[in-house]
């Protein structure tokens, strides 16, 4: 059963047809061709598939296409501000927040969501915010560092 849905994806309007049961994760990766959002577990336990749905970070592996008409979706491909990398992306590069990089898109999406809401998070608040994003490579230390550094840079830009 295919449904016509109209969505806004990374700021652009799109009309497409998708089977109702198609998960948003697969819609993005297989039908639309944006493979930046990753599948890590398919059951909402790892956060690698995190996207913003109507402004909130969610696991796209648990969202059915059939309910998406009118939705606003932002993926990792939409994180950049124009041609420039977002400070959180730059911080991940500088601080070594990415090793194999597979969890990185999800981590970045959660980190940015945190900083949008809380420009001056404590270390514990950062760890709490990303506790739904599993990383097997880094031990999280440099990810936390990167979020702290990005937060400082964003605060400096505001000042």
């Amino acid at each position: 059963m295919k449904t016509k849905i109209r969505i806004t994806l990374n700021g652009k309007s799109m009309a497409l047809e998708a089977p109702n049961h198609r998960l948003l994760l697969d819609l993005l990766r297989d039908e639309i061709g944006l493979t930046g959002t990753k599948e890590g577990c398919g059951t909402g336990d790892c956060g690698a598939c995190t996207v913003y749905l109507n402004g909130k970070p969610v696991n796209s592996c648990l969202v059915l296409s059939g309910e998406l008409d009118g939705a606003d979706i932002v993926t990792i491909e939409g994180l950049k501000i124009g041609p420039e990398l977002h400070p959180i992306q730059k911080a991940f590069i500088q601080d070594g927040g990415a090793q194999c990089g597979y969890c990185t898109p999800g981590m970045l999406m959660m980190s940015k969501a945190l900083l949008d809401e809380n420009p001056n998070p404590t270390e514990e608040e950062i760890r709490y915010a990303i506790s739904g994003n599993l990383c097997r490579c880094t031990g999280y230390a440099k990810i936390v560092q990167a979020v702290q550094d990005a937060a400082a840079e964003l605060r400096a830009k505001q000042a």
Binding site: N20, G42, G44, P57, N59, L62, L64, E67, E124
Partner: protein, 304 residues
Amino acid sequence: MKRTEPLEIYQPTTLREASRLLKDKGAGGRFLAGGTDLVIAIKEKGLVPKYVVDLKRVPGLSGIRENADGSITIGALTTMRDIEIDSLLNKKYPFLCQSAAEVGSIQIRNRATVGGNMANATPSADVAPSLIALNATAKIVDAGGERMVALEEFFRGPGQTIMSPDEILIEIIIPKTSPQLVGEYIKFSPRDMMDLAYVGVAVAYVIAADKRCSGVRIVLGAVAPTPIRARSAEGLLEGQPLTEELAAKVAAVAAQESKPISDVRSSAEYRRAMVEAMTKRALLNAAVPRTAKVSWCDRRDRRY
């Protein structure tokens, strides 16, 4: 998720329409709220719904408000995240917000709803014990009308509630409580986040200046087919001043009342031992007013 059978999704805009759909389309339909349970049931547990009725376009089903009579209504489609951060609930019943915070990750909580969570009736659910400790009621509607069911009576077994297929849970109501009501929820599990509860303990009681407790409710999760009240344990504390010694006795009785099973996560004996340990802690923690914000990492180990 792979399937060749088409999946119909309906997005009604009224409750009546939603309930009608289930009646008219017949068996095999499921309501969809946040999807975090339903999609997993389809992917992992072999559920093949013929059709799905998405409730999210029906207005008025989410939100938290205090009513004139002092009760609080939580719309069924209120997300766990909204409950977690709600300022009213954090002021009145911080332990309820804490139980919501225990559900999965922020990404899950942005979608998971309290109504969907109740309807899913997982024995290890975190929010149900706290709501039962607060004597909450569920408002259920169908095409014919509405009824109120005490949440304590709402669950029948794992995955089973007292609702018929075309009934919809639309609100949870917490009755007005005494200003001296205190409570605590402890989720016991190995990690600090992302686990299902091995044992869940919610307590609520009114504490007088002389430390006498009344209206004691002790609700255990993950140690029976549904959340259960440890009534004998409650009875021991009712009307008595709370002391460490009494808390220990009460906890021992609560452990006896639990009916844990052994599974891949834990043995029954260990769960029973943790019911005892955590009930004692929850009772004593509740009596200590929370001044500073409790560190997330300390909340499981926090000792009065």
